[in-house]
Each structure stands twice: as C-alpha cells, then as structure tokens.
Symmetry: C2
Subunit: 213 residues, 2 copies
C-alpha cells in the first residue's frame, strides 16, 4: 500500500521533470491498456464460478473477507454504533442478494452494478458514490468521520461516528484504486457527511416553512 503511494509520488515527479521524453511513449499505449483493463472489469453475468476472480481483480490484492482481523480487539475512541443499523439495506427490487460485492476487508458490501459503474478517475466522486451505496442518507446526515465535536463549535453536540470498519473499507479501496492518499479520501467523507447534514437541515426548514408550528 505504502509502496504504491511512494511509487506514484515518484512517478508524478518524473512526469513533471521529464514531460515529453521519458514517459511520452507510455502515453500512446494508455488508451489501449485502459480499454483492455476495463473490459476485464466489466461484469458479465452473476455467475458464482467467476465471482471470486472478479472480486480479486476489483480489490486488487486485498485480503478476502472474514480474515483473522475480523475480531481484532481494536476499539475506536468514540462510541461506535455497532451492528447493521448503519448499513444500507439491500434495495427491495434486488432479488439476487449475492450481487453484493465486498470491498476492502469485506465489512462493506456494494451492489456489483454500482461498483462497476464507478469511474475511478475522480476520487471524490468514487468516495461519495461508495458512501451512498453503503450508508443510508439518514446515517450520513447524522454521523461524522471521527464522531468528535467541531473544535470551532465546542458548544454543539458531537455527531455519532460512522462505523470505522466500513469507513476503512471505503478509504482503502478508493486510496488504492485512485492512488491518492487516505487522508484525501477521509476529507471527502467529512465533506459528504456535512453536505448530507445540510441537505437534511434545509429539507426540515422547508417543511417548517410550509407547515409552521
């Protein structure tokens, strides 16, 4: 993971220092490579026999779900809302429950058609799409990344913390797929929660304006 980041960082520097000569030849092949890779990632049919392979490819070297760290004793500092209450229920129209693909360590599962629709060019879009796929809007609006108070608003109550295992699955996936630092992905999550909270607030306000108490 860390090696990936260092490698990407070095490559970025090389790119800048040697635009036009060293890496130019690679550019010509980019489109072909991407096309091929995308084809491989395209879902075919919900066929269990090659499901494992597809997951392997999508998660790109992640451990499979149910690893020994499932029950590791690590406790998050803030109180965690345990259990599945934070997890988005499978949509009613989906009859095939197996169509959920685990990401990261496998705590989080995402509908395969959502996962394959994600364009990994934008780590912000990818993060927000995964968040919406994994958490109900209500949870996003009422929880935050750390579960801590805003240092700038010490009088306000803190929101609850987003399930850290699910968050980690998202962070690791986006960070790896988009080769950006985990911090940037975490910032996206903070912003997304703030945006959902604002939307929620605005809807309540609009409702109050319509039907004033």
């Amino acid at each position: 993971m860390c090696d990936n980041e260092n490698f990407a960082r070095k490559l970025r520097q090389i790119l800048t220092l040697s635009i036009g000569n060293v890496v130019k030849p690679l550019q010509d092949n980019l489109e072909d490579i991407m096309t091929i890779r995308n084809l491989k990632l395209c879902p075919v049919r919900p066929d269990k026999s090659n499901r494992a392979l597809r997951i392997e490819e999508i998660n790109n070297g992640f451990k499979e779900s149910g690893s020994e760290e499932e029950n590791s004793g690590e406790q998050p500092r803030a109180s965690v809302e345990a259990g599945p209450s934070q997890i988005r229920e499978t949509p009613a129209q989906s009859t095939d429950n197996d169509d959920m693909i685990p990401i990261g360590k496998g705590h989080a599962k995402v509908l395969s058609k959502v996962l394959t629709s994600i364009k990994w060019m934008s780590y912000t879009k990818a993060t927000r799409t995964l968040l919406e796929a994994i958490f109900p809007r209500r949870v996003l609006a009422t929880h935050s990344l750390s579960g801590k108070q805003s240092p700038a608003f010490m009088d306000r109550p803190a929101k609850k913390i987003l399930n850290p295992k699910l968050v980690d699955d998202i962070v690791n996936t986006v960070s790896t797929k988009c080769v950006v630092s985990k911090n940037l992905v975490r910032k996206c999550i903070t912003v997304k929660c703030a945006d959902e909270a604002k939307t929620c607030r605005q809807q309540k306000r609009a409702l109050n304006d319509k039907i004033p108490l």
Copy 2:
C-alpha cells in the same frame, strides 16, 4: 497544464489497474532518472551566463517575467493590498540581489537557494516553503486566500486578501512541479494562513500573560 493533469490522472489509474506488469519495468529506472534530473537542477554558482537556462528548467516552460500580462486589467473581487508591502524584503545578509529567481509568471521571486532546496515530493511542504519565502509572516497571519469572511463566523471581520498574482505564481508552480490540482495547493495556502494566525494569536496571549495590562 490541463493536459498534464489529465495525463497524470490516467497514469494513476493505470498504475492501480496494472501494478506489477505494465509499469513495473519503468520502476527500475526511476532512481537513475531522478538522480540525473536532480543533478541538472543542482545550482552551481551564481553565474549570469547560465542563469536563464536554470530558470527555464526550474519553471518548466513558464513564461519569463515581465510578460505582457503584467498590466492586465483583471481586478480581484476583494480589495487587494497593492504594491510591494506584501512582499518579503530581501534578507539583509544577501549581498547579491540577482539571486532572486522568478516563479510562475514572475511576479513572485524566491531566493535561488530556497528554490533549489525544495523537495517537490511533498506539495504541502513545497507550498508552505514558497509562502514563507515570498510573504512576511505578518502578512500570512493577517491575510487569507480569498479575503472573504468565514461562512461559519459571519460576525468576525474578514482578513485582507493575499496578493492574487503572487498566489497564482505559487499555485501554478507547485501544481505543475508536483502534478497535483491547483485546488489542493490553494487549500494548503488557506491552512498555512490559519496556522500563522494561530501562532500569532498564541504569542500575543503569552505576552499578555507575562505583562498583564
């Protein structure tokens, strides 16, 4: 500029999708390439005859200073503290005034030894170093990127705006050299100003504790 960003973004995706096979061979040559490039960037002596070449290389294709856009009519929305008052004075111990190297469009100038000391691996460090090299601490503490009020603290007065031309020179330089989006660089500037303001505040507080009025 935009092409660079798109290219880097594509490369990042390729990296993720094809770790270990497509780009692996390139990795072996990274160290050599970087060494060679670093050697080229190393300052030799303040010798005017090859100064231009070094600047050309460092700025990587930027226009030279004194371009026709020097007097373009673009006016920033917030009030700008015009003139050199925002610009860091050349340190007293420097006898060679020519040792200032322009970056970006050339509004901002940086001591050559500072410029060559910057490690472009970290865009945050690079941005902060350039800020300290170009603006006095006092300006960083009392100005902000936009010159606008905080939306979260509408009662507080807005700080003044950092000279946008100097900011642009920094943003363009770091964005290009580190192949990160301009927005990320701008975020760094916001944070740096906030940090300087905090330091300033703390120093005043410490002084008041010592010599209470």
